[in-house]
Symmetry: C2
Subunit: 209 residues, 2 copies
């Protein structure tokens, strides 16, 4: 992740060409890793599929892991799902349950989106067995998303909607953990109804009062 | 998974030899997949490491996936962790919180056990990208464990400790999902204190009353 293409334009035309190459490289990287898996994806393969020289890729990224991570960040930024809210944080209408349901439903849609699913599975699986890649994945992609939950839950606690002693960093895992578990391991269908029920259970607990 | 070795003994000596071979094959399979990953583990490699002929493996199992799954089932059966309770179900002392904490703490210890960790990561990661293997993993290994939670939570609901409307199959994911998520993605340390807090949050919810 040395110098991103858009940061070194010489002329408007060169900028446009760079942006086109960058987009082609990202698309090729995501398609390849989704089809062939992480291990069988190579910088050579990405370059061939993107119609650029291998050196074009190495000029901007040191490794296939770096290209893929940037491609994912770009995908997450363009997606219509939960990550689209990153800039502004999670919705805060004052109704915590409704806001969390909206976010989890969007996440369900994103995880069920075929364009998103195959490459995300490939990168996540590789992070499960490769601690170094996993740490970068968490630091750059996952943790910034989880922080949005921390912020929303902290605001809810201040507003008196969440119990005073609750740690938002642990509480958020009640929403994100089960959803990801169900998706990754395909134990049961990932639906809006499930997202809603998860929010109810996590907010109100399962114990009798 | 054709005929298991212990099922076709001719003499006591042959049975002992079969059992020794089976143990050596399982140990070799788990060690290899933990070291080299699923894709680079082969029946040939397992046979060489176990000191048996390739045909010995193919006599008992149709593929490397089948050997690995049986090796995992065997490991889970021998482990001191949560799966050891499979036969008798989860503990039921009448104190749901205490019982769930005991089970989740044992699961934490098991997930942190190096002997268990590398092969489990390798198989789980492969199941994430290979739906067919993932389905067998869930059906034979994961779902039987999850059913123990269903039984314990159903009993707790009947005893009036869980709210009447709660679906145990969804509720169990509040415990298992976050724990697995934290372990797989290595977001934060997996500790007993975390297991306890998870149980408290899931039982009592995070919303203010």
């Amino acid at each position: 992740m040395s110098e991103p293409p858009a940061a070194s334009p010489r002329t408007p035309d060169a900028t446009r060409r760079s942006e086109r190459s960058r987009r082609a490289i990202f698309d090729a990287a995501l398609a390849l890793v989704g089809e062939a898996g992480y291990a069988r994806t190579t910088v050579e393969g990405i370059a061939a599929r993107a119609g650029v020289g291998k050196q074009t890729i190495y000029r901007w990224w040191p490794s296939k892991g770096a290209v893929l991570l940037d491609a994912f960040l770009d995908l997450a930024g363009r997606s219509g799902g939960a990550e689209a809210e990153t800039a502004g944080g999670l919705p805060d209408t004052g109704d915590l349950a409704a806001d969390l349901k909206a976010v989890l439903r969007a996440t369900v849609d994103e995880l069920n989106d075929p364009r998103f699913e195959a490459p995300t599975r490939a990168l996540t699986a590789e992070g499960v067995v490769d601690p170094e890649l996993g740490a970068r994945f968490v630091e750059r992609l996952l943790e910034p998303q989880l922080q949005l939950y921390v912020e929303r839950l902290t605001a809810a606690r201040e507003a008196g909607h969440v119990r005073p002693g609750v740690d938002p960093r642990i509480a958020l895992e009640l929403f994100v953990g089960p959803l990801t578990h169900r998706w990754l391991l395909r134990t049961r269908p990932l639906t809006h109804a499930y997202a809603d029920e998860l929010v109810e259970y996590a907010l109100h607990g399962i114990a009798a009062r």
